[in-house]
């Protein structure tokens, strides 16, 4: 509306600006992905021809990502972490949604703010604060009771907790928004038709929340998969993919195998994102 009142050159300029913006958005992603297919030892121009070696070759110097043990291991750990983070954060996100939509208790607004806060704490701080507490506790137990609590040392569990600490805020907000739209008389209707409390939850309320829970789970999975800042301080010997890639970049320098990983990750997250959007769209038709 704003632009329609203006002259049409203005609109043209506006459109050009929008196009330029999207080129800006796409450029680094395209360059990160495209060099995976360049038949060269370096991710740089000139273009040496098309190859899939950086994905499938099993020999040095062009060891493909699917034969690179450390990268595959990183991918595996990322998967494990992301699955656990997604499940835990969707679970707590769902209980939080019920707590804040249905529950009546003193200080509710204060606790709601507290729920949002982790989202505005820098990830680095979350990482170090959890590291500090876990290590202090582990040291104390060791000195006092001679107990070696290995799980409190940097490792998979701490990474999961670290990511869970702020991703839960995201899942809580998504699921809370959905639960707020729920017509509570639907539960009364089910109750009236003879269902028990558990059955009402299982057959009416949770199915209504399911699209939001799945979407929140996918978001949690992706955010966990790509997290770096929090993970950096909590990681032990089982490094997830982002950490492995960073190490590789810092120590070996960039090689096209990193482009290959980037390409696979972009395609994978793109598909998951589309899936989550499809689910969200499905819910609006109801």
């Amino acid at each position: 509306m704003l632009a329609q009142k203006k002259s049409s050159p203005f609109l043209m300029g506006y459109r050009l600006y929008v196009v330029a913006f999207f080129i800006f958005l796409a450029a680094p992603l395209i360059s990160a992905g495209a060099f995976a297919f360049n038949d060269s030892l370096f991710p740089a121009l000139p273009w040496q021809g098309f190859t899939l070696d950086w994905f499938f070759s099993d020999t040095e110097p062009k060891l493909g990502m699917f034969h690179d043990r450390r990268l595959l291991q990183g991918l595996y750990y990322s998967f494990v972490i992301a699955i656990f983070v997604a499940m835990l954060s969707v679970f707590v996100g769902t209980t939080n949604a019920f707590l804040f939509v249905r529950g009546e208790f003193p200080g509710k607004n204060f606790f709601y703010i507290l729920m949002v806060v982790p989202l505005v704490i820098p990830g680095v701080i979350l990482g170090i604060s959890i590291l500090v507490l876990a290590s202090d506790t582990a040291n104390y137990m060791e000195n006092r009771f001679d107990l070696e609590l290995e799980f409190l040392r940097p490792g998979l569990l701490l990474v999961v907790f670290g990511q869970f600490s702020f991703i839960t805020t995201i899942t809580s907000l998504v699921i809370t928004a959905r639960l707020k739209k729920f017509d509570a008389t639907m539960e009364e209707a089910a109750f009236n038709l003879g269902a028990s409390r558990v059955r009402v939850l299982r057959t009416v309320t949770l199915p209504f929340l399911r699209p939001a829970m799945i979407a929140a789970g996918i978001v949690a999975f992706l955010v966990s998969f790509e997290n770096f800042n929090t993970t950096l301080f909590l990681v032990g010997s089982e490094a997830p993919l982002t950490i492995t890639m960073y190490d590789r970049m810092a120590k070996v320098g960039s090689t096209p195998v990193l482009n290959a990983v980037s390409f696979v990750l972009m395609v994978g997250s793109g598909l998951l994102a589309l899936l989550s959007i499809a689910i969200q769209r499905d819910k609006t038709s109801q």
């Binding site: 017509d183 008389t185 038709l193 003879g194």
Partner: protein, 374 residues
């Protein structure tokens, strides 16, 4: 308990409910004969929804008792009461299709699949929608949704079906059609329907009996005709149907009626409302329905004189044309407006500005003593 034959599907005994300090329902007693259509009619906030939620079991009464088929249901949770409810916005489950919606209660009761299939099909045929089982809820029209919501309850063969203003969300035309349909459905299932509404025409058209509720109490229970023609209280007279209303003081009275002078200075004769004793000097309210007031041209009064013992002259202020329900507003000498129904033929009709006489019988002037003077 066993021996009292349940002539009534539902009995409420001095039922009351308070929320904090607010008494929403203040001691209501009534019983509903089996298989009848019973409406509870009242303005919003009168406590009718609370009353219904107590019958359904969503609220626990503060005092009093509820009996279904002669058996007290106090303390019985809603999912074990054989009272089903059609909600205001129907509350059909959007994540299930029509078949699953209707089968829901049967599944909760542990009925086997073959039986469920037979019963669902049977009830779909009875509501004349045999082929919609596989449809999704959002594919149904408003009237179809209504019928599915009723079928979902009726398939469980309830003792009492509660309906909480289910027509409120429909547009006018469909609402009119659904009134007739609901009545027919009630006949067909032969189950007691309790219908909650603030719309008097819904209550009057469909019900065998209507209870008028106001401020947590029942003002009167009766057939629609009784309520309309023989209201027991001023509230009922004013709430059911349209009325001209005057306040005034009784000048002379005997057992059957008397004369009143209204606050505006008009004198009129009345008959005492049913169950009312009116004494000299009482402050009273008088109600006269527009259809009982005849409007005749001032020049033709002689033939009308026999029709009524109340007469008043005035000037037609405006004609409210609405086909068969047309009405005139007549301004009387003291300046107030009186509504009167007229028949409009399109030929030599009354026009604004004409001098007219209003005529009505004292038998149609319902008079109620005001509470403060009682």
């Amino acid at each position: 308990m066993k021996h009292t034959s349940p002539a009534y599907d539902l009995e409420c005994l001095d039922l009351a409910k308070s929320f904090g300090g607010i008494r929403a329902v203040k001691g209501v007693s009534f019983e509903i004969p089996s298989g009848s259509f019973f409406s509870i009619l009242g303005p919003s906030g009168c406590g009718k929804t609370t009353l219904m939620r107590m019958i359904a079991g969503f609220e626990e009464p503060t005092s009093g008792d509820i009996k279904i088929k002669g058996r007290s249901v106090l303390g019985v949770p809603p999912n074990r009461r054989n009272v089903k409810m059609v909600f205001q916005h129907l509350a059909l489950f959007p994540m299930m299709n029509v078949y699953e919606n209707i089968a829901y209660g049967l599944r909760c009761a542990g009925v086997n699949n073959a039986e469920i299939k037979r019963k669902v099909q049977d009830v779909l045929e009875r509501i004349a929608l045999p082929d919609v089982g596989e449809r999704e809820i959002h594919q149904l029209s408003g009237g179809q949704k209504q019928r599915i919501a009723i079928a979902r309850c009726m398939v469980l063969d309830p003792d009492v079906l509660l309906l909480d203003e289910p027509l409120g969300a429909l547009d006018l035309k469909l609402r009119e059609a659904m009134k007739i349909e609901l009545k027919l459905l009630q006949h067909q299932f032969n189950t007691t329907f309790i219908y909650i509404t603030h719309d008097q025409s819904e209550a009057l058209v469909m019900s065998d009996n209507v209870a008028i509720m106001n401020q947590g109490l029942f003002e009167q229970i009766g057939t629609p005709q009784e309520l309309y023609h023989h209201p027991k209280t001023a509230f009922v007279a004013g709430f059911v149907g349209d009325s001209n209303r005057w306040s005034g003081t009784v000048k002379s009275a005997d057992a059957t009626g008397g004369m009143v002078e209204t606050d505006q200075g008009l004198s009129m004769s009345f008959s005492a409302g049913s169950g009312q004793t009116i004494r000299d000097g009482d402050k009273v309210d008088i109600f006269v329905r527009p259809e009982f007031i005849r409007t005749v041209r001032a020049a033709e009064t002689d033939q009308a004189a026999a029709d009524g013992d109340n007469q008043m002259s005035g000037v037609i202020d405006s004609l409210l044309f609405n086909g068969a329900n047309s009405r005139v507003l007549v301004r009387t000498g003291s300046g107030e407006l009186i509504e009167s129904d007229v028949t409009v033929t399109g030929n030599n009709d009354l026009k604004p500005g004409e001098d007219v006489r209003l005529v009505w019988s004292s038998r149609q002037a319902m008079c109620f003593a005001r509470p403060e003077s009682a």
